[in-house]
């Protein structure tokens, strides 16, 4: 499953970069996140609750950030599992400043197993797109607050 797109945030690239590297912001902005514990070395233990159509459940896993080139790009690696199956995903974020705003280009690829794959496959891309949208809108709110 692939997800791709861009989102424009009304802040400088440096501000956006800092936001994306703040665990507290990430914990607040990521939809369904129940817990995000830093483990050091840009690695987090995460518990996230997601519903994909009829397949609902909690996933326990690890999120790590790699290939950081501040404030331009980073790679996210996610591995987790729960009752409905497992998820293994990588995503890349690229930040570009345009007229004082920052365009975040994201692209990700995920492999899923279990019920989320077999039952949720028709819905999962839609759910992923929606979650990405919610994430960036939450970041935007966070920027407004600051």
């Amino acid at each position: 499953m692939k997800v791709e797109g861009t989102y424009t945030l009304p802040a400088s690239r440096q501000e956006v970069w800092e936001l994306l590297n703040d665990p507290n912001v990430l914990a607040k902005a990521t939809p369904g996140i129940k817990q995000l514990d830093p483990q050091g070395d840009d690695t987090f233990k995460a518990i996230i609750e997601v519903g994909v159509g009829p397949v609902k459940g909690a996933y326990v896993g690890q999120v790590s950030i790699a290939d950081k080139v501040p404030p331009e790009r980073m790679t996210l690696k996610i591995e987790g599992g729960g009752r409905p199956g497992t998820i293994k995903a990588t995503g890349e974020l690229r930040l570009e400043e345009q007229d004082g705003k920052t365009v975040v280009a994201y692209s990700g690829d995920a492999q899923v197993t279990g019920l989320i794959a077999s039952v949720g496959h028709r819905l999962i891309s839609g759910v992923a797109k929606q979650m990405v949208g919610e994430f960036f809108r939450a970041l935007e709110k966070e920027l407004e607050r600051r």
Partner: protein, 773 residues
Amino acid sequence: MVISHALGARIKRREDPRLITGRAIYVDDLNFAGMVHAVLIRSPHAHAKVQSIETSAARRASGVVAVWTGEDVSRRCGPLPIGPRIKDMKAPKRFPLVIDGIVRHVGDPVAVVVAASLEAAHDAAELVEVDYEPLVSVQNPETALAIDALLIHPDLGTNVCFRMTFGGGGVDAAFASAEVVVKTRIVQQRLIPAAMETRGVVAQHKGGELTVWTSTQIPHVVKTTLAETVRVPEHEIRVIAPEVGGGFGSKLDVYAEEALVAALALALGRPVKWIESRRENFIATVHGRGQIDDVELAAKRDGTVTGLRVRAIADLGAYSQLLTPGVPTNTGLMCCGCYRIPNVHAEVIGVFTNRTPTDAYRGAGRPEATFLIERVMDVLAAELKMDPAEVRRKNFIPAGAFPFKTPTGATYDSGNYETALEKALDRVNYTALRDEQAKRRQQKRYMGIGIASYVEITGLASAANLPGGNWESATVRVEPTGKITVLTGTSPHGQGEETTFAQIVSDRLGVSIEDVAVIHGDTRAVPYGVGTFGSRTTPVGGAAVYVAAEKVRDKATRIAAHLLEASHDDVTMNGARFLVKGSPDRAIDFKEVARMAYKAFKLPPGMEPGLEFLHFFTPKERVFPFGSHVCVVEIDPETGEVSFKRYVAVDDCGNILNPLLVAGQIHGGIVQGLAQAVYEGVEYDSEGQLLTALFTDYVVPDATQVPPFELDHTVTPSPHNPLGAKGVGEAGTIGATPAVVNAILDALAPFGVKHLDMPITPRKIWAAMQSGL
């Protein structure tokens, strides 16, 4: 044999009242004091290394009695059976749970949790943590064949289970000198058997006996193999197939869970129950079909077929189950269909993939053979601009040529293929229908007419490759009151032999059908038998009942003669009464003979008491039912929707014992065959995740999605059994798929569409109409 009032009569199935009023007892209806429940933990990956299985939390959970992994199993269980013996076949050992730390398909079981309640078992199962390291999986059977392909079973050194060739004559010369050559590539998609009742097992070890209730088609074979797998002497095992809610071949198998539940019951000293969920049924019960066929036909311009080349690659899935490799070999054997083709070469290659194993499914290799030959005959007709009926007529094996040996090694017992086709064509008024089609095309209405002529095998006789052999047993036991108990080694799951076998006995012994009980499916009650599959119930199991009843009749006549002080030759049977020729006042009832057989003070000298015979019937040869189906469709050019206008099936299953049951078998068969053509199809993603994992994504049609059927018959008795009958359980499925696909492609001919892969959905049709594939 003479078809009497009892045989050949339209008698309603005696088993139906209990089945449709919910009074039948299935495995899941069994409950015993102290019974515990098993839940399996299955791989979510198509191919992965099991790094660790953490079971301690599950073991501590409330109500849990046991948690087993492969280690526990390897100490207690031997391997499961792995298919028929095919020359140079390579197949991996398989065990009730994965014991070598590699899972090879989504659904491969790695652990089992047993608890006091099903809910506790499910809750504890969630506490089992399995750490998998995913491996690259092999999904495409053609990729699996490549020399550098990743090996699914490294010990075998190859992904190829077997290669087998069939044929004769000079194929290369036939193609070199052919006036016309046509080719087609056919994907016969995987199907999910989807029996109404999922599998289920209950096992109990008590009083020195291991009793296993299982939803199976072959209780005796399960008993014998369990003795080896769980190491209990066979005479201490009793296997019972209670009511079985359909199988279609998917329960013609010996499954991991049967051995696992038995081993658990032995180890725990408590009854253990496991009931398969529908999702498990989709990933852990065998799939059917799964073949890629490259087919080439050489012919003369007048339509005479001179050569056939087939290369069939069968997707066996991750393991060889009981008959897995045997199924596609039927395709090689039967690929000539109803035609006299002098030069044939068919290669069948069985390949392992990281998918659920395939095995027998209604027709088992014969639908694939029929589909490929019936499709390519239509491709030839289109190429030559000939009528598809004419191409078939030109090549049919003539009625006078039987028994007919095909170059692939099958000897067809009897047949009259052209008559069956003509009967079907008459019924649809074929010539007028073609005119109507031409007229409608001018009005931009797209009607299609599809023909499929088939021949198939029932009462399989290749004993070496069958579980348990190719005979069947029957006991006809006359009780002292004259009532009759029949014990059959067949094991029904919808076939209806409680009715048909009673009809056979009624016909032979003059008693009413109500006075005959047919008992099956309990290895303690019934002498060793083979089971129910391959449409063998009537031609093999029924023939056994017939011969046993004949033996009873002969002994009863001798007793009657002795009691009537007449010579044996002078005594005849009229209904349930013995008469002396020429002396109408000297007669004795069958019931009285039965009583005297057990009282035994006035028997002919040297005769044993009792009135009961056990007969093991072995057919001389396989029997080959045949027929022609014609399907008429119309396609909506706006939506690609197919509407079925007519469906005519003319089937020849030899003598018909009960027309109602034959019609029922053909109806169900056509629905399944038609479903493969337009509705059903297993889909995996590139990682081996099953995408059609529930009925929401896998379309099993209901009554509103199929047309009414018009059935007719020709009757060509088989010489190989005393009933002159051929099986009919799979015929409908075999004829339907090519008839429907040929009809759709005939309708689409004006668009230049030559081929569509099954299932042919409206979306595929619509897209093809736009582009003209």
